[in-house]
């Protein structure tokens, strides 16, 4: 029954959808889907791992016993994240790095490997995103969003792969993409471009590196509100957002972390080149009869319309 299912994760009382709707919920954070030693002896590097979705990825790897190198633009944030990861019982090391700079990436990999040993797993999460009209995106803003995600994912992945190939060992990469990569994202043009590039390069990188035993997959993530997301800062909390998603709720951030880490486990050892959508059906919501179309610039409260 709905009430019984709700006890597994999100409490029913926190949901905004009608009581007679049934909402599928995941197990709680302390019950990961894999054993605590599935990544034992391995090191993962998580870009943008100090907060938000990257921190969720990092925690999920830590729950499987991986040592975690946390890379962030802000050293302070990376250190805060590393402290939370270390609290799960694994070694963690914080680093500051701009993923648009290949030399800086190589230096960060060197530092991480000195501290924690060879990096055999990589989670590309570094990214920036903010709602804005396309005509208001400055060249600097465009470059910031697209190059962190596109160049950053490519450069970190290539650095990772060169090191794995040199060692004669395989590895696994997971990329944080987004559910709007198939539909566009009016009011968020820079991120629409950036996140799709991450997904399409996932397939080609997987093909290029399959002979070396390096797997590459991506999660096309939906709405996983957290402290540092635009949605997480929304006045009134996330409850009103739950009604708009077919699943009846926003995602729990550990669900995203788990699926990301899961693609890197031996359990999914044959999987590569896949982009898995995890969005509670949000990107598929569709009806011939919909509310009137309002161009992003004419929405009363900004490009996403609900700020």
């Amino acid at each position: 029954m709905a009430g019984e299912r709700a006890t597994l994760g999100v409490g029913r009382e926190t949901l905004a959808v009608p009581q007679h709707h049934i909402v599928a919920t995941p197990p709680p954070f302390d019950q990961p889907p894999y054993p605590a030693d599935i990544f034992a002896g391995q090191t993962v590097l998580v870009t943008g791992g100090g907060s938000g979705m990257g921190l969720a990825m990092a925690k999920a790897f830590a729950q499987g016993g991986a040592q975690v190198a946390v890379m962030g633009r802000s050293m302070e944030r990376a250190e805060e994240g590393a402290a939370q990861i270390a609290a799960l019982g694994v070694r963690a090391h914080a680093m500051s790095c701009d993923v648009r700079q290949p030399e800086a990436i190589a230096a960060a990999f060197d530092e991480a490997e000195r501290e924690l040993g060879p990096i055999g797993l990589l989670a590309n999460n570094a990214g920036a995103n903010f709602p804005i009209l396309a005509e208001d995106i400055s060249p600097n803003a465009w470059n910031a969003v697209t190059r962190i995600a596109i160049d950053g994912t490519f450069l970190c992945s290539a650095e990772f792969a060169r090191r794995r190939i040199a060692r004669g060992e395989g590895g696994a990469i997971v990329n944080n993409s987004a559910q709007y990569i198939w539909t566009g994202f009016p009011g968020d043009a820079h991120s629409a471009a950036a996140k799709t590039a991450q997904a399409t390069m996932t397939k080609k990188l997987a093909a290029d590196w399959a002979p070396y035993g390096i797997r590459v997959n991506a999660i096309a993530a939906g709405f996983f509100p957290h402290d540092t997301s635009t949605a997480g800062r929304r006045e009134g909390g996330i409850a009103p957002l739950q009604n708009m998603i077919p699943a009846g709720r926003t995602g729990n951030i550990w669900e995203f972390g788990w699926l990301s880490a899961m693609t890197c486990t031996p359990l999914f050892g044959g999987m590569t080149g896949q982009v898995i959508v995890q969005d509670g059906g949000e990107s598929l919501r569709r009806s011939l009869m919909m509310p009137d179309f309002v161009p992003p610039r004419e929405r009363a409260d900004g490009p996403w319309g609900w700020q």
Binding site: R5, Y34, L259, Q274
Partner: protein, 167 residues
């Protein structure tokens, strides 16, 4: 490594030893009839023929097995879930869209968009619908299937995925 499906009853229609053993290993009770929480349909691959060599009967048989039976089975499963007021999980497993003949291309293209449609149409019934389209029949397929029908995939619905580069 077990327990994703503890307490769940799963009905598997079609043959795939990797899927059956993975679901059982994760704690699911495999049932042949009656109420179930999980319905997995595994389509047998139809023989590969050039389109102009396919008879209408062969075409129809392939679409019956690869599309019609899956829709009707899903509809029946979802109806039973609604009747008892519980959610559920549906998973379609089969070969990729372009892997075989034109009959397969039609059936699997239709199935993919059906997966996306039913995943949303039944979302508020707590019923999730996903597809894995692959030529893989090994342990990764079994583990992926078990994951997708478990509560760990509670936020995954309407997803169509493969496993390897050929999918």
């Amino acid at each position: 490594m077990s327990g994703w499906l503890n307490g769940k009853r799963a009905r598997i229609e079609g043959e795939c030893p990797a899927v059956a053993s993975a679901l059982a290993a994760q704690g699911a009770s495999l049932v042949d009839a009656g109420d179930c929480d999980i319905w997995v349909h595994i389509a047998p691959p139809p023989p590969v023929k050039l389109a102009h060599d396919l008879t209408h009967a062969e075409w129809r048989a392939s679409l019956d097995a690869g599309l019609d039976r899956r829709f009707l089975g899903a509809k029946d499963f979802a109806g039973r879930c609604r009747a008892r007021g519980t959610g559920g999980a549906i998973l379609f497993v089969g070969a990729p869209e372009q892997a075989l003949g034109a009959d397969q291309a039609a059936a699997v293209g239709a199935l993919g968009n059906l997966t996306k449609t039913l995943g949303v149409e039944w979302a508020r019934d707590g019923i999730r619908v996903n597809s894995v389209l692959t030529r893989d029949a090994g342990a990764t397929l079994g583990n992926l299937a078990a994951y997708l029908v478990s509560d760990y995939a509670a936020y995954v619905t309407g997803a169509v995925m493969g496993i390897d580069l050929d999918d």
